[in-house]
Symmetry: C2
Subunit: 341 residues, 2 copies
């Protein structure tokens, strides 16, 4: 850890990279943890390098998916046994993290609940629907609706709202919206390459506008009332807080979303708003990141995470999200990382 | 200040507001300063309320435009006398802060420099051009180009790039791009009202995509080379760091831009990237904010700032920006507030 005392460290991604993959992995790890210290600027991540080794070990353990006993926990509140009688709308539900969320939610709700699962891919979505209907929850009366739609299109959003309203019953006690659908953007380029407004517009529309407008539509469709809890989850990323070279669109979109949901939390005090960062997951998006990331150092770090078995499974991360939702003690609007839980 | 010890304080903008205008003004003031403490989450602003009264007084003095002797300064570096022989592209240059930037830059450059001033309003832009050509700098050979264009449109961006390339000469030693053009968005509504994707798309296109694509285009047009300094300014806001009720689009766009320019700074180490927050300015945008802001508490706070003469003039704020640019000691990618300088 001697290298951490070196005053000459420069930010991750410095051109003409001079770092070994293992040091970059550590840097990435520290970037991944540094937002816990409330570090808003890139330079702040460097100060994290100079923290105590105990803190570093805790960060490392947490990052590697094996939180130590003294890792921070969000709360000591005993979690509720379930989320109640839920109407849950989950976007990007056909695979990856969204699929894990759908399955975990199905196991945490009371009979009479409804899942509205949204994705572009019909076959995968219907396979999940069949699986859930045949599960214990399904046999106990869980209703599973699928909406094959592109939430990046106006018509897709309208269809999700229409189907959600139709699925709602007076017995529902908890509305849950999980804004999970997202795309990585072109990570094979740097910011200076993005001269095509249509490409940037399209990315922001799918990754920012659609999440905001779906959320607004759902809140209008199911307004505040005494017997209805309402929870909105924004699936976010460390990239909302820390810049990563060649992940420009992704960072920009996630930062925009985090802020939008912070404003929402300020505006709607009855609403529970959570920005949950699921960590580095072993998903198709990560595979895309490993093969396409332009920045050689970032690319190598992701490859190392994968090769060393340090990516989280969607199920591992999702169980932490469920813990946070069941405890329900988070500050509305907060960004909570899987390693915070 | 006793009220600051109260543990029951809730975030600014709580529905059913219970705060007096003066307390809200203080809250707004503290929100305005709290990012100096590196506070990323809304809840963190509350901890600022519990800081020492000395710190509070300093914050208050700084917010009110009368920095005390112990106010933080960005650096003790002696500033350069000028920016060099500059090609400066300034968007939103016809009025407000952009106009002040154009005038200040014109006074800080060497003969042979060129300003490329961009705005949608032809008459105002041409009036500024005439004024600058007749100024001391103009008489000493400053060239002033005007581009009447909408940078929110592809064609507008292309025209700016075409004219900038034409204006460039081999004698230019410093390329400066000031991304100032922006719109407030509809502050008469809350996040839950934004169900129209076209409206959100359009806002993000003008306020995020256009700044990113113009920057990319300028960097491609004038690539890195030994004899050319390159500086990119993102005109930002406290709203990039702190959520303000009913300023959802504005906060979202500014947060997106700050992150995009942080990524750019990581990717291009030779580039100087500055996100400068000019503070609460006495401009048309502020007048719009005073008359239209939906949140009654925020609206009242802005009215109070205006009524009490506490808004900054564009010239006051711009002189701080020029100080930062001339000193050139900021961390690339940093968000620097007028009250940090």
């Amino acid at each position: 850890m001697e290298v951490l005392q070196d005053q000459n460290w420069t930010p991750l991604g410095e051109v003409g990279g001079q770092y070994s993959p293992s040091i970059l992995l550590l840097l990435l790890l520290l970037l991944y943890k540094s937002h816990q210290q409330g570090a808003p600027a890139a330079r702040t991540s460097l100060s994290v390098l100079r923290r105590s080794s105990a803190s570093l070990r805790r960060s490392a353990a947490a990052f590697l998916g094996s939180p130590s006993a003294d890792a921070p926990v969000s709360s000591s509140m005993p979690p509720s046994a379930d989320l109640g009688r839920v109407l849950a709308v989950i976007t990007g539900a056909s695979r990856g993290f969204g699929r894990a969320v759908a399955k975990d939610v199905s196991r945490s709700v009371r009979p009479g609940s409804v899942l509205v699962l949204v994705a572009r891919s019909g076959p995968e979505l219907r396979a999940l629907q069949a699986e859930l209907i045949q599960s214990e929850a399904g046999r106990a009366g869980l209703q599973v609706e699928v909406v094959v739609a592109d939430v990046g299109q106006k018509e897709g959003l309208e269809e999700v709202l229409r189907r959600s309203k139709r699925a709602f019953t007076e017995e529902i006690t908890h509305l849950v919206l999980v804004n999970n659908a997202a795309s990585l953007g072109d990570v094979s380029h740097f910011m200076k390459d993005f001269t095509n407004m249509a490409e940037v517009d399209s990315y922001l529309s799918l990754n920012v506008s659609s999440a905001l407008c779906l959320t607004a539509g759902v809140l209008q469709a199911f307004p505040r009332r005494p017997a209805l809890r309402r929870t909105v989850v924004n699936v976010t990323s460390l990239c909302a807080l820390q810049p990563f070279p060649s992940w420009g669109l992704y960072c920009t979109g996630k930062a925009a979303r985090d802020m939008a949901f912070r404003v929402l939390a300020e505006e709607e005090p009855d609403l529970r708003v959570l920005s949950y960062s699921p960590g580095p997951l072993d998903t198709a998006m990560q595979a895309e990141a490993r093969s396409k990331t332009a920045d050689p150092n970032i690319k190598q770090s992701f490859s190392d995470l994968f090769a060393q078995g340090q990516l989280l499974t969607c199920e591992e991360s999702c169980s932490k999200l469920m813990k946070v939702l069941l405890e329900d003690s988070f500050t509305s609007g907060a960004h909570i990382d899987v390693f915070d839980v």
